[in-house]
């Protein structure tokens, strides 16, 4: 819980000032926008690059000398690979076409997972994806073009649009309703919801942690003597919520990878 000390002290200082009037200022989204460290470089930028280095190092070291009978470390790396390859990519895309997409799914899952873990990692304590730009980079600029291009390359643009916008097995009049919905889902909503889902979860989860941390601090320093012990309850909740966050951040990484794979699978399929 040792979140960037100066950042967390700061609102409490602000609260201290306000406390003259007895007011608690809850932390808001401004908590997520620190001034740049140097020049235009901000904390999430550093973290994104850091996550990249961690993932690259992990996979290069883990796959440097693979054995048929794995060591413990290799087994761990293989478990992640196996999850992405078989449980996510193959199940969602189908065993015929999934192979080219395995690196993408593995990269999505690993990169998002590491960035999310930063959200509960002491000393770092900031989820990169609470800035929507990083989520959009992957959903709008990688997953979105990938699934459309994959569909068009497999079926040709005409048949691809037909499969996507006019799903088979539906009475003709229903297309009046269905086609606009399908178009909106496939071409507008999918990449946005994909990004917003992980971004919102990370922002909200981290905000929750901040509220309880700063609330406890405020109670300890500003509240009347009788209320001071309540801050302990507040901090106990921080621990509970941290565990919850640990669960959520893995799930979000998993969901992002699964949905990306399922969009690719839907684009390659001939019917839904």
């Amino acid at each position: 819980m040792s979140a960037g000390p100066e950042n967390r002290k700061e609102p409490s200082l602000g609260a201290l000032v306000l406390a003259e009037g007895g007011e608690f200022a809850p932390p808001g989204v401004e908590q997520f926008f620190f001034p740049p460290i140097v020049g235009g470089i901000t904390k999430p930028m550093v973290l994104a690059v850091f996550a990249l280095l961690i993932c690259v190092t992990f996979y290069l070291v883990a796959t440097r000398n693979l054995k048929v009978v794995p060591s413990k470390f290799q087994f761990a790396a293989e478990s992640v690979y196996d999850l992405c390859r078989n449980k996510i990519a193959r199940d969602q895309i189908g065993s015929a076409d999934f192979r080219p997409f395995v690196p993408l799914i593995l990269a999505l899952f690993s990169f998002i997972l590491v960035n999310n873990i930063f959200g509960i990692l002491p000393m770092i304590y900031f989820p990169t994806l609470s800035h929507i730009g990083y989520a959009l980079a992957m959903s709008l600029f990688v997953v979105y073009p990938v699934y459309h291009i994959a569909g068009i390359r497999k079926h040709g643009i005409g048949r691809y649009l037909k499969y996507q916008l006019f799903p088979a097995g539906v009475p003709a009049p229903v297309y009046i309703l269905l086609t606009p919905i399908e178009f909106f889902t496939k071409f507008v909503a999918n990449p946005l919801t994909l990004a917003i889902r992980v971004f919102a979860a990370m922002l909200a989860g981290h905000l929750l942690l901040l509220v309880f941390t700063l609330g406890g601090e405020y109670l300890l320093f500003e509240a009347s003597a009788a209320l001071k012990p309540v801050s302990l309850i507040s901090w106990a909740f921080v621990i509970v919520i941290t565990f919850l966050e640990a669960l959520v951040l893995v799930i979000q990484a998993y969901v992002f990878a699964v949905l990306s794979a399922s969009y690719i699978g839907a684009a390659l399929a001939e019917e839904h």
Binding site: G14, A48, S110, A137
Partner: protein
Amino acid sequence: MMKAFVLASAGEPNPILPHPSEIVLGLISFLVLLFVLWKYAVPRFEKLYEERVETIEGGIERAEKAQAEAEQARQRYNSQLGEARTEAAKIRDDARLEGERIREELRAEAEAEAARIVANGDAQLQARRAQIVAELRSELGRNSIDLASRIVGESLEDEARRRGTVDRFLADLDAAGATN
């Protein structure tokens, strides 16, 4: 720092609006990672998977081959055993026949030998008997004459008489022996 906080309160940043710099950085980081995984990690994992499949399937194949070989060896062994059994039976049969033949031969030989020995003995016996008879005859003749001479007190010089008497006696003796 205080100023930043106050400023933030005044004009709150909108978290929904992405910063282009973050999109670019996020995209570059992700693409670098994707490239590394696509180029290095995934092919290595796939190669490992293939090797593992090969190892396991190869093991099964080897086991099947070994089993087939064992089965073949068993059949060969069984057929050889069968052959050996028939051969043994044949050898036994041959041996029995041979044994019988040898026994038959030996018996025939023994019988022949026995017959020969008996015949031989018979002949010897006959010869001896004849010899004895002849000896006895001459002895008896001499003794008889001798005795008769003593009894009679005179020498039976007369050859003709003597011969007639003795011969008659001997013929009587023969006749007596024959009737006995």
